[in-house]
Symmetry: D2
């Protein structure tokens, strides 16, 4: 039953999450439960909390690993640092920023939304206007999605920090790094991010189930007075158990802890900078293929090109959801749908997580065939050739095999 | 590293959760991620939502499978049905009911706590007094833990329902079934439970990660007007996606879905009634062993004896946490600690989930040796003999092997 | 340690064996040992022995599943049917036929070797000459490798049978189907094959460890008088245990039995004819790519083109082993080395077993990059384009997803 | 289907092979195939060949890891060192020694069988008589099963060596260590064993599939002139590939190699001497239980008591195969059948491999219940009490948890 959609060979998983899990991680997770109150699990947890900070590039932050998804991690970031009615500035530029804004509103904050057309980055000019006008510091937080997964737009967090600094504005900087952290350049400490968060099923290449939230000292301080109602997502409970050395206020997934350990080990073995370079390489190759096919990137400006997901705009006479459906039905290829405003208009190629060059080229050749099948006049091989030309010049030898 | 507490042979896992996962479930979960928006996952989810109702013994209820733990499931049950300031009656009788009450208070409800000494069941007489005096129906909900995991106390839910009916009281009945559902007799529809909840790592014998909440039509109705702030735990989002047939407002754990499918299949193959009888058998056997050892059950009245966990009271001169520590260090046996008020005074034997007679007898023989090691004058073999005498009279042949 | 050659992403396994194992099979094998004398294992074995016959396309044959490799299966085929000194005709046309001939000689048979240049098929004319001259029936067996894995040459078994029939020659027909059975058209009964054999790690897509040998009634009859010394590989012991219904004269691998069950289920779900068509499709696509690259197939005649492995001849100025090494070091791609006479001259692309179109295209794009890296003037994308053009016209929808 | 004999909870596997596989080993083996000609597999193999020698306690021996079972390992030991017609002395004392003798005869050796009644050890007096009378050194080898799995009899190998030395007899000493090596005290070099062998599914606690044969320098020398026909089991092919550094003349099971690596790591972590002590402890505990039940050990003399398997004699009015059947049907307990001469008369408890105290006590309590069910007047708890009394005095703390 479980395999009632069986197709021969590997499934080619190119949605922008959940992503491919490395085999050693699948192995590490294939295990029975354990008593999480034995000495083993706290000892393991301690290493995870320490090592996961490297992924955020922070030494001063405090990480929390919630048994939840990205949506829960958002809620944790907001409710621990803010009080109902607080004014926050939030950028709307795609489905996931929209959903976060919806959450912000439902949680009772006064959300000052800065809109961008889908495909464009966060409007920092509009932010500057807000900051300039806010000498009273009514803005308590700026919320931004680092990488909008729906449109493949990466925002410039460093620029946001510089604006806040320029106006000496004390607003907290809350960042959704769900499809960026551990794949794109992200520097929590250097960029003064107050809360950063990601989900295990994205660049960390694990199953869904861990919402990892990292709080700066300033965010921890804010948590002491934040009045938003929270229990499950409350940092306070974790901090209490951290102090006790048992770490878990409620039962964690034993399997995900071992999986995270194995996943971090692989990331550190490859080297975080190499992981980021690999994503840059795969992103660039994908964009070259799209160009070769004569299609447009949903992302309008080069500075916002995302190295984790590419949203490809299809001609008006094609329904992009047909592409996704057909890829799955004929080639065992999973692509991302266009969502909301761009439903039917774009399909998405996720190129994040544990992935290599030939996997991507296999995907691109599949996209070419799908485009042809669906009636778009693509030259078979054109995108693969463009991508391969780039990759053959930029792919390093695998370090462990030199 | 991951096995740095390696001991030869199987770990004997007898904490009352997380519990032993059957091998076919571990196998079913040992898999890569998948696109949860492909047709496969909604089709799978549909079967799960339908079949999980059988575990709750409901045909009218609506289940929600949150990517969370029991603590999150509590929060979902409360915030979807109640508004800040609402008066609720809640029974305090052990660590987990305490934690739930703490959550109820932090979520802003007016909690009318009915205390019992630890080891005693919920004081239904006190409830009756409340109900009798509440002709104005200020009580919006009665919250009760079916099986208090800290003390091994099972409460009589049917009696609670009868009281509510006797006073024609419209309060919602919210039940924590974390260590009861799928192991003890639980009848959502028949007993008029409005919200029931459990966690995947308990009797369902899966990893931690699914908080399963089941709502009666009355609870769903209440959700329409409940004013508690909620987003991640909001039923509304799920109902919207149920209607659309895609089921998931945010990314589920693919692995847990396949695991739940395999787990339910095993439960149905054994037969839910047989699963419950097996728990009754193992619970009775455990109590006979405790008696043979000359030790006391923390549970004071036979009517409250729990078939999923037994809290064993140790003599005053023994620190029960030494028993737990020693069992793990010498015999690879994981027992449950005494928590809070009974810390140091009881240790707990979890006998729930995918477990059989010889596993339990192995555990009991281990407990005997630990008791001897720790200085309690136990007669080795006494508990095992008492338990085996019972089991050898009550254990049926394995149906598939007759 | 086990992963000390770790590279990010999937390994692209394109050696002609051992081949990719489907995930459901890996899952089915991830299990503890079991008592092989319990009723479960014979019941499972019975289904396997019955179903494996379909792979051989036989209803009259008797299969034996030896805990061994292809080399052991060879030995079983020979020693059970022949006596020391027996004259056998054997075709030499590549490394694996050579190794089998070496075994035939070491086992004491009088081997009449018919040589072909590597890249050519079995010389059936020479066989005819032998048969014509053998009115005394001194030839006891004709041994032929259906698909020579070293050169990618498929022989015409039906033609061999027709020759034997034309001369009414009673010689046994012994066939190495290691890289053909379950991938290429193979018909044991129709073609009058007396012993056919394969290994689990080839088209069956399992780990190494089962040498499956199938004997015709005539072969079983021959076994009664064959004087070759044999114990481990003796069919007699199996036949005795088949009769007893316990099936196993010595301990089988429990894991491989469950794996074979899962593997056969997948093959039957896809349909054996569809499996064979898939191999034909992938083989044709591969050859089109090779042609587009301007390289030669080691196989000289179209009638011998193999749909499971393609041996690609490289220009004299290139050492093909550098291609294999480089593919592994830079692109995590495993290709087959040239062996013996064609060492350094060919590299091999295995396209058998559980494999699909996009996996192959990923491999082909990798080969293109490797060729470029190594100094061969390939046009990137050319082979992929040629293969994709073919595949996009020939690949059916995945039946379970229509 | 695969689980059509499903029973809840763990299967209690107490046959003397195949035995329980540790979870880390199952995990290590849950993987796809790999190219065995890549640099990774030879590197891995090299560590295995080096480390496996520790299990044999040899520094001068040469190990071979055949893709076969114990029966194949026997054949390899014999055919590589002996020539047809060679006189060998072999001890018959149970089913497995019988089967080996049957093989020896079928392979064409002149077997001088020394019989013992089942339950007794090898008759070394009879060997001495042979040696004394063989000044012409017609005896080419002495073949002995270290631990006869059918009767639970361990023979004194050191005494055999001393006899050979006393008579300065050059006969090779060939030892079946299938159910002893890595569990009982075994010293290849010190005891002058020329060929020792075991199977992966025994004390090494892996799946079936590796027949490990270790040859002394004298045995390797003998192999140069031994005339027995052999190909698959020929050491020569391995030695050739050892020299080339590629190690494998034919395809190994990738999974078993990684499994062996993980298994050896666990054995070394526990310490081989501790592994042996653990077996001694579990063996002694089992015998005390048998005594407490009022039953007899099939092994007649204390000096031959086996620490890996105990054959328990049942009263004449009980059919021991009913015990085995009932244990499996009611308690999910797998015990060993009585074989051949002791069929119906004994059942066997295997206590070898990756096993700990509480697992054994669970098994013993199961045996007690089965005995009662089947009509034997056992006092429930008696055997467990006797075993536990011993274990509670002898079991050390788990080193990694101190």
């Amino acid at each position: 039953m479980a395999d009632y959609v069986y197709g021969p060979g590997r499934t080619h998983l190119f949605v922008p999450g959940p992503v491919n899990i490395p085999d050693p991680v699948i192995r590490a997770m294939s295990r029975n439960n354990e008593d999480y109150r034995s000495p083993a699990i706290p000892a393991l947890t301690k290493t995870l909390l320490e090592d996961v900070k490297q992924i955020f590039k922070t030494t001063t932050g405090t990480p929390f690993m919630f048994p939840t998804t990205g949506t829960g991690a958002w809620e944790s970031a907001l409710t621990n640092t803010l009080s109902p009615g607080d004014r926050i500035v939030s950028f709307s530029l795609g489905q996931f920023s929209l959903l976060w804004i919806d959450q912000q509103q439902r949680l009772g904050f006064s959300v000052d939304v800065i809109e961008s057309d889908w495909g464009y980055g966060a409007d920092l000019g509009a932010l500057e206007t807000r900051l300039r006008g806010d000498s009273g510091h009514t803005i308590k937080a700026v919320c931004i999605v680092h990488n909008e997964t729906a449109t493949g737009v990466t925002n410039d967090l460093h620029a946001v920090r510089k604006l806040l600094d320029a106006y000496r504005h004390p607003a907290l900087l809350l960042v959704d790094g769900v499809s960026s952290i551990c794949a794109l350049d992200f520097r929590m400490d250097e960029w003064g991010v107050d809360v950063a968060l990601t989900g295990s099923q994205k660049a960390l290449s694990l199953p869904t189930g861990l919402g990892i939230v990292c709080a700066s000292p300033k965010a921890l301080e804010a948590a002491k007075t934040a009045k938003s109602v929270r229990v499950f997502f409350d940092w306070k409970d974790y901090l209490k158990f951290y102090k006790m050395g048992t770490y878990w206020p409620y039962t964690p997934s034993i399997q995900l802890l071992y999986g995270l350990r194995a996943g971090l080990d692989l990331i550190f073995e490859e080297g975080l900078e190499n992981v980021i370079k690999r994503h840059a390489r795969l992103g660039a190759a994908t964009r070259l293929a799209v160009e070769a096919w004569g299609l447009k990137n949903c992302t309008q400006k080069e500075e916002n090109f995302s190295d984790t997901v590419t949203a490809v705009v299809v001609p008006a006479y094609i329904d992009s959801s047909e592409i996704v459906k057909h890829a799955w039905k004929r080639y065992n290829l999973s692509l991302g749908l266009g969502l909301n405003k761009v439903a039917g208009k774009v399909f998405r190629i996720g190129h994040l997580g544990n992935l290599n060059e030939l996997q991507l080229l296999g995907c691109l050749s599949g996209v070419e065939m799908v485009l042809k099948d669906i009636g778009y006049p693509v030259k078979l091989g054109s995108g693969v050739a463009a991508a391969a030309a780039y990759l053959s010049n930029s792919t390093p030898l695998i370090p462990s095999r030199i």
